[in-house]
């Protein structure tokens, strides 16, 4: 399953909740303000670091990273673009955490 998260982890606990309810093999895609969860060295970095450590694939959408001038990503966070987003949606069932 593909889980998209579009909220900043500094604003609410959506990202943490999402990670609490995922299954093995699920993919997380951070979009919109969700990409702030992918920033290295922040007070909330441990959330995504923990997910990656436990084997979850975490992606961030490049357009949203660029728009927010985010360049310092947590190690292991992968970057994808809109075409990649479409591929994910084609391949997985999607759960949008709003």
């Amino acid at each position: 399953m593909l889980h998209t998260v579009n909220k900043s982890p500094f604003q609410n606990s959506t990202l943490e909740s999402c990670l609490r309810f995922i299954s093995d093999g699920d993919v997380i895609l951070l979009i919109e303000d969700g990409v702030y969860g992918a920033v290295a060295g922040s007070a909330k970095s441990a959330i995504v670091e923990g997910a990656i450590k436990s084997g979850t694939e975490v992606y961030a959408l490049s357009s949203d990273l660029k728009a927010r001038a985010i360049t310092n990503l947590i190690d292991g966070v992968q970057i994808t673009d809109y075409a990649g987003f479409v591929d994910f949606v084609e391949k997985h069932k999607t759960h949008s955490w709003l």
Partner: protein
């Protein structure tokens, strides 16, 4: 998993009266219950607060929906679950939960089932669609 019956899960993650999400979500559930779908509802995060019994919205001038949750079982929405951790984090126990119907035979009140994140994750994995409110 049958091909023609869709498994649809509704998640409720917002507190009840600060926004229209929970109310709108309730309307969607009741509409979807009229179709041939396998519906489940999971309350998690602040969504568990919508299940507190004794809500009185009279002074807010809005209808409230505790009574509507009370007919879930009559609408054949029987798979109603609450995340244990979210309840505990907010100081809620089973005694706080409202009733979603009564047993046809024994007339015992039915409450949402309290389950843990692992059980919810397993159910999520089986769904055709998941809708968040």
């Amino acid at each position: 998993m049958s091909d023609d019956i869709k498994k649809i899960m509704f998640t409720v993650r917002n507190a009840p009266h600060g926004s229209i999400y929970v109310y709108e979500g309730l309307e969607v559930k009741l509409i979807m219950a009229a179709y041939d779908a396998d519906i489940s509802v999971v309350f998690m995060d602040d969504g568990v607060l919508a299940l507190k019994q004794g809500q009185n919205t009279e002074e807010l001038g809005i209808k409230g929906f505790e009574k509507t949750y009370g007919v879930f079982v009559d609408y054949e929405i029987e798979n109603v679950y609450v995340d244990k951790q979210s309840m505990e984090d907010r100081g809620m126990s089973v005694d706080d939960l409202l009733v979603i119907g009564e047993d046809e035979d024994t007339e015992e009140p039915i409450k949402p089932k309290i389950i843990d994140a692992g059980e919810i994750a397993a159910m999520m994995a089986e769904q055709h669609n998941i809708m968040s409110f």
